[in-house]
Structure formats: C-alpha cells, structure tokens
Symmetry: D2
Subunit: 98 residues, 4 copies
Amino acid sequence: MKVHVDLCLIPMGGDVSVSAEVAACQQIFQRAGLSHQLHAFGTNIEGEWDEVMAAVKACHTEVHQLGRVRVSSTMKIGTRTDREQSLDEKIESVISKI
Amino acid sequence: MKVHVDLCLIPMGGDVSVSAEVAACQQIFQRAGLSHQLHAFGTNIEGEWDEVMAAVKACHTEVHQLGRVRVSSTMKIGTRTDREQSLDEKIESVISKI
Amino acid sequence: MKVHVDLCLIPMGGDVSVSAEVAACQQIFQRAGLSHQLHAFGTNIEGEWDEVMAAVKACHTEVHQLGRVRVSSTMKIGTRTDREQSLDEKIESVISKI
Amino acid sequence: MKVHVDLCLIPMGGDVSVSAEVAACQQIFQRAGLSHQLHAFGTNIEGEWDEVMAAVKACHTEVHQLGRVRVSSTMKIGTRTDREQSLDEKIESVISKI
C-alpha cells in the first residue's frame, strides 16, 4: 500500500528552536531513499506504508537520542485505491484550477 | 517504545456520514487488545509503537475494503522517555490544575 | 455558522509538562460559556464560529502571558450545512454501529 | 499578533477529488493579500491573526457554497513572542543544518 504522509514533529520542553531535530529527520528520509519535500510546517513523504512508517519511528527515536525527552508529532496520512497520484501531481491538480 | 496516538480517520468522497467506518476501526482496536477511548473528533489509543501502528494500517485497509477509495487520516503521536504516563493520567494532570 | 473544533495546544520550549497551560485554556472555554470536553490529546469545543475562534485566540494569548514564548496548536475544524449534530451525537452515532 | 497557519481543508462526501475546492481557497488567500504557499497536504499562510482566521472562515463558507455540505479542516497554528520569523526563514533554518 502506497502512502502520502505529512509529518510535523515537535520536541517538547527544552530549547525553543527545533530546527536541528527537523534537520535530523530530513537525513533519515534521505538515507531511507524516500521522496520527501520540506515545507514550513512539516515534511511531505511518499512511499510504501511500511517504509514510511519505519522512517517516522526512526525520527522519534533519533530525536529522543538527541536529548529530547518528549516528542509530539502531527501526521496526515493519505491512501487511495482508485489511482496512483504523486505528491507533485496533487499540487499540479490544484494549480491547474486556480 | 510506548506511544500515545490520537487517530481521526476520514473516508473521502461518497457518503457524508462516516460513523460506520469509524465504528469498524473501533472494532480493530478492540480485537488488537489496545486501550482506546473514542471522542468526538477521533480515538485515543495507547500501546507499543508497532502494535498501535499495525492497527492504524489495518484501519486504512479495512475502510478501503468497505468501499471507500480514498482515506485521509490525521494522527497525533506522543512518545516520551522521561516517564510513563497513561492517557488517563494526562487528563487527570490537567483536571487537578483547573 | 456553527463549528466543532478539536484543539491541541502545545507550548514549545521550557518545561516538558504542559498541563498548567492546558488547564488555563479549559478555564477560558468555561468563562466563554462554550460546551467543551477535555480528552487525552486535546479539547473538543462546539459553538458559533466567531466565539470558538475568539476562545482559541485567547488561549494562545494566555499561554504567552504565562511565560511560554512559542505556542504550536493543532486544530480540527468541522462545519456542515446539511444538519445540526452535537459532539455527543457524533459519538453516539459511532457507538450505535459497533 | 502574527500567526503562521497550515490549513488542510477536506470536503467530505460527494466527489473524491477536492482540487477545485482547494483552488478556490487559494484564490481567497490571494484576494486577502496573505502570503501563502501551497504544498501537497495543505497551504501555509502567514499574517495577522484576525486576517488569517477570517480567510479560513471564508474558505469553509466558500466550499459550502460550492455544494459541499460537510467540511473538515486540519489546521496548525504557530505564534511566538520571542522574535519574528517568516515561513521562509523556518525552512532556511532547517536546510542550513542538514
């Protein structure tokens, strides 16, 4: 099952800045070979369900290892069985109608 | 790794009512033996990461099998390494301070 | 326009515990006379759009005044024009189908 | 109060495709003169709290007028009092650390 995910991971407590932790997650997606796109409130990722979810788990584990004791993520998950559609095609479909 | 999840699953397209699909997901959590609590905008679930995420995947698969071709979920994910805290304890901690 | 909202407010940085800030938000909903229900990952609120959104703004302002310099909320917003449905009726509709 | 918002609006029921409705919302942000950036799971918007929230309300109203009787949005809301930071600066801060 293919999945589209939008992950916004927030380390709670400690430093107000979270960009180091978000950067560490980007590297996890890169090493996993997952197509991903950073935006100002999260990262969109596409791939096989199990691979994407393994990367999300790796993000939580990594951010804990960086010293953050509490992590709260918000994730959107999209699956469809009628057709395949890439993240880029979702954006193009909207832009074509503006 | 223990996890707290808040899952709000939305079948897109077709019938405006989604309660049948949400009910089917409740049964998935029950069969999985996962502690869970339905609220008006989702279901809170607690358990081991892999077991909870397997149940979330089963929800998407089940809702597709019920005939919904597109499913969009919003999920909150909480992990912490400083201490264990149940879903009930989170609520009690707030109520004690009101 | 009536609205259903699920608000999960997270103060970023500083203390790992956020229950004091969540409790302060509960009091804002109470003083505003808004029907609301705390759960383990947020608070469900129902009412007129402008009143509910004014309360959400008051929550951000209050949490900043409590000394938190950065606040990140996740909010679900539901509106419908086909019929009125309370938060309790949403839950009952699911339970009747389990 | 300045605010950063990530809005993902989902019309429920009816057509599986939602790109027409998302396109209509883009036009609302443009007409309101709000800085905004479409991504594959939503739109990031920055501006004054009241102006941004008025645009979000206009999106719900517009999508109902387009014939969708039920609308469910997920919105992330960020405010901070320590410093101003644009949406672009948030992204650059992460990229500089990868």
